[in-house]
């Protein structure tokens, strides 16, 4: 099978064996954790900056602008320059904030993507944690972030921040439901919650096509709810710049602000990655029925490229939403969830269960 060509398992395996032959198992584990931690740290930093750049360029293209053009060729170094600027900025702590919570909030917000990213398979053999409850873990952990947002809103001692934090709380608590339910729909189809197995099951066809109607409905619900959960437009009520200036992170500056900023983009990546894994076959190449030649060409492309191509596709879709639509109002956001998405979801689960029971899927 051509897929095995790009399997990273032998590399990771050999590193593991090389380490364990030289030191005790405990030390090996610690060293491996450290390596993985450093890799993820670098990945989050670099990918976050890259996404900021991509977002700027994409939004510029939507608006018939050029976007950053000054720093580096086509402004490629712009985000790095911005990051350096943010690093050097003074960390302003306003008077009469709740100091402990104020400083804690950005860390909670930035920890969440690190937790979630661990279960994401970037390619064959490129997965740090492979739980049998991977999907459940993602839904559980990703809702911790809202605590950080709420803390930031509360501890800033600013009314705009407080309103932003509360809006975010109401919004994320509601949309967790839709995210979870659309994932459950797909879990019914897959029959497992282990992320690697879900990907493996899509070798001969992505779940979006396998599960046809209910899967497509679930996909759309997931993308909408995922956009809402990452606090991006048109659901960016928590920061709603024309209403609340900057919402929950109004009072943050320097690197603490950068944490919120980075977390937003990494969350965007995670939502897109989850959509990719569950609906679009993760790192699996696109196969079309029995066209052997076509499938063979597709197999030549490494899994990791497939994965990132799909992720960027969904990221582009979410950015497209943001740069087209006006913002909703808080009660309309909740109406959309409770009156439209939730009933559709419940109905969809039923539909999917029927489809799976009767074997109407491919």
């Amino acid at each position: 099978m051509a897929l095995e060509k790009y399997d990273f398992t032998p590399i990771t395996q050999s590193i593991h064996e090389g380490l364990i032959s030289n030191m005790s198992p405990l030390l090996t584990t610690i060293v491996e954790w450290t390596i993985i931690g450093v890799i993820y740290l670098l990945f989050v930093a670099v990918f976050g900056l890259l996404l900021v750049y991509v977002e700027r360029k994409v939004c510029a293209a939507f608006q018939q602008r050029m976007g950053p053009m000054r720093v580096g060729p086509w402004g490629l170094l712009q985000t790095i320059a911005d990051f350096i600027k943010l690093l050097m900025k003074e960390l302003i702590t306003p008077k009469s904030v709740d100091k402990f919570l104020y400083n804690l909030a950005p860390f909670i917000v930035i920890i969440v993507p690190f937790l979630t990213i661990s279960v994401i398979p970037f390619g064959p053999g490129l997965q740090a944690l492979d739980f049998d409850i991977g999907i459940f873990f993602v839904t559980a952990v990703s809702s911790v972030g809202v605590i950080g947002v709420l803390l930031a809103g509360w501890a800033s001692n600013n009314k705009y921040s407080l309103i932003g934090g509360m809006r975010s709380g109401a919004q994320i608590v509601s949309y967790e439901l839709s995210v979870g339910m659309s994932l459950i729909t797909m879990v019914i189809l897959a029959g497992t919650m282990q992320v690697s197995q879900i990907v493996a099951l899509q070798r001969d066809g992505w779940f979006l096509f396998k599960g046809h109607i209910p899967a497509i409905i679930a996909f759309f619900v997931f993308v909408i709810a995922g956009t809402a959960e990452t606090n991006r437009g048109p659901f960016d009520l928590a920061e709603a710049e024309s209403e609340l200036t900057a919402g929950f992170h109004t009072e943050y500056s320097g690197i603490k602000f950068a944490f919120f900023f980075l977390a937003e983009y990494i969350n965007l990546f995670i939502v897109s990655a989850m959509a990719t894994i569950v609906f679009l076959g993760g790192w699996m190449p696109f196969h079309f029925g029995s066209w052997e030649g076509f499938n063979g060409v597709m197999d030549l492309i490494p899994g990791i490229i497939w994965f990132f191509a799909k992720v960027f596709g969904i990221i582009f879709l979410i950015m497209w939403f943001k740069w087209t639509f006006p913002r909703l109002r808080i009660d309309q956001i909740l109406t959309l969830e409770w009156k439209y998405l939730l009933p559709i979801n419940l109905f969809n689960i039923l539909l999917m269960a029927t489809v799976v029971l009767l074997g109407w899927h491919w």
Partner: protein, 377 residues
């Protein structure tokens, strides 16, 4: 600030669930340095107290020391998005007082400029209120198309924003030879853009949810608060000065007064969108028929108005703009009072924003189309 809060606490008393929020003077959606002291309960607005005067420039006082041609350029700086209408108001007032009949050509030029200015203003309104509602891309589309109008202005009168194009007795320069061609090109292009604007926002389900039925201003309230312009017309208050008290070339053209009846945010939006079509139709009627002739009548070197009081009303992009000149026969006016549309419109906000959410207040403000120097003067 502390005193104001103290005063509010003692006079208006804040209930246990309420709190005060300063929206502005530096706030993205107040479009300038306007400060709204909001009394909120959760997200619900209970009271809006506008605090203005952050950019009060004392134009009315300054005019008392200037001669009549000189004071015109100050009116550019009031409602800078309808600067030509403001110029024209003062010029018409002076011409009426002196009983000067301006050439037909001037009337046509002024009317075309008025309508171009109105289009430019409504475009900026469209994009800025799109941004207020969170549709950031709309902002750039509006500004992109507005550039074409500003280029037309710049070619003919040398300035893009503060035109100072009308002078007593005519206009400052003759039309640029390219003017007609450019205007026609622009109209042709812009006619394709308005449907795009409509698709992007007016027809959008999120936008409609945000605006329909929000912030209703009844006709009676619109009249009582003196809310004019598209904002007032959306409430069914027929207040178009161009129609009721025509000036310049408006008696010669056919156009409908864009009217609404619901008085909600969506109607205010729709009325302005309709008004863009009306402006286009007015320009189309005039642009090919500009009569030849002088672009200004010769005025005396020093213009002195006869003793008395003169009032002139014009329709700017925001509503009724009035100039009230008290003259004592000298070369400087004794007193000039500007009745600016933004001033009257602003204070109706408290009346209609009560009970709505902050997000709705932003939408209401967006469709009121406030320009702060117009309020502060």
């Amino acid at each position: 600030m502390a005193e104001i809060i103290e005063k509010l606490v003692t006079t208006d008393e804040i209930k246990a669930d309420e709190y005060l929020v300063n929206m502005g003077p530096q706030h993205p959606s107040t479009h300038g340095v306007l400060r709204l002291l909001l009394k909120l309960e959760g997200e619900i607005v209970h009271n809006v107290d506008p605090h203005v005067g952050y950019i009060h420039s004392g134009i009315e006082k300054m005019t008392e020391a200037l001669s009549y041609p000189q004071l015109i350029h100050l009116t550019d700086r009031m409602d800078y998005l309808s600067s030509h209408m403001n110029n024209e108001a003062v010029c018409l007032c002076i011409e009426n007082a002196l009983q000067v009949e301006v050439p037909e050509r001037v009337k046509y030029i002024r009317t075309i400029f008025d309508e171009l200015q109105r289009l430019a203003s409504h475009q900026l309104w469209w994009c800025a209120s799109g941004m207020d509602l969170g549709a950031l891309t709309a902002f750039f589309y509006g500004l992109r198309d507005r550039e074409d109008i500003l280029d037309i202005f710049e070619e003919t009168c040398g300035a893009r924003l503060t035109l100072n194009y009308s002078v007593p007795g005519g206009v400052m320069f003759d039309l640029h030879p390219n003017f007609q061609r450019r205007v026609k090109d622009f109209i042709k292009k812009f006619k394709k853009k308005i449907p795009e604007y409509d698709t992007l926002l007016t027809g959008n389900v999120i936008f409609q949810e945000r605006s329909k039925g929000v912030g209703i201003l009844s006709k009676e309230d619109a009249i009582a608060f003196g809310v004019t312009g598209p904002t007032g017309r959306a409430s069914g208050f027929s207040c178009d000065i161009r129609k009721h008290h025509p000036y310049s070339a408006y008696p010669l053209v056919n156009f409908n007064e864009a009217m609404g009846s619901d008085g909600d945010t969506f109607t205010r939006w729709k009325v302005r969108m309709d008004e863009m079509w009306e402006s286009i139709s007015i320009i189309e009627q005039l642009i090919d028929n500009i009569p030849e002739g002088d672009y200004a009548v010769k005025m005396k070197g020093v213009i002195k108005l006869p003793e008395g009081e003169f009032y002139q009303r014009v329709e700017t992009a925001r509503g009724e703009f009035g100039v009230f000149i008290v003259s004592d026969g000298k070369k400087n006016p004794y007193r000039v009072k500007f009745r600016s549309p933004g001033f009257s419109n602003l204070f109706a906000i408290n009346h209609i924003a009560k009970g709505w959410k902050i997000a709705d207040l932003v939408a209401i403000m967006a469709t009121f189309d406030l320009v702060i120097p117009d309020i502060d003067r």
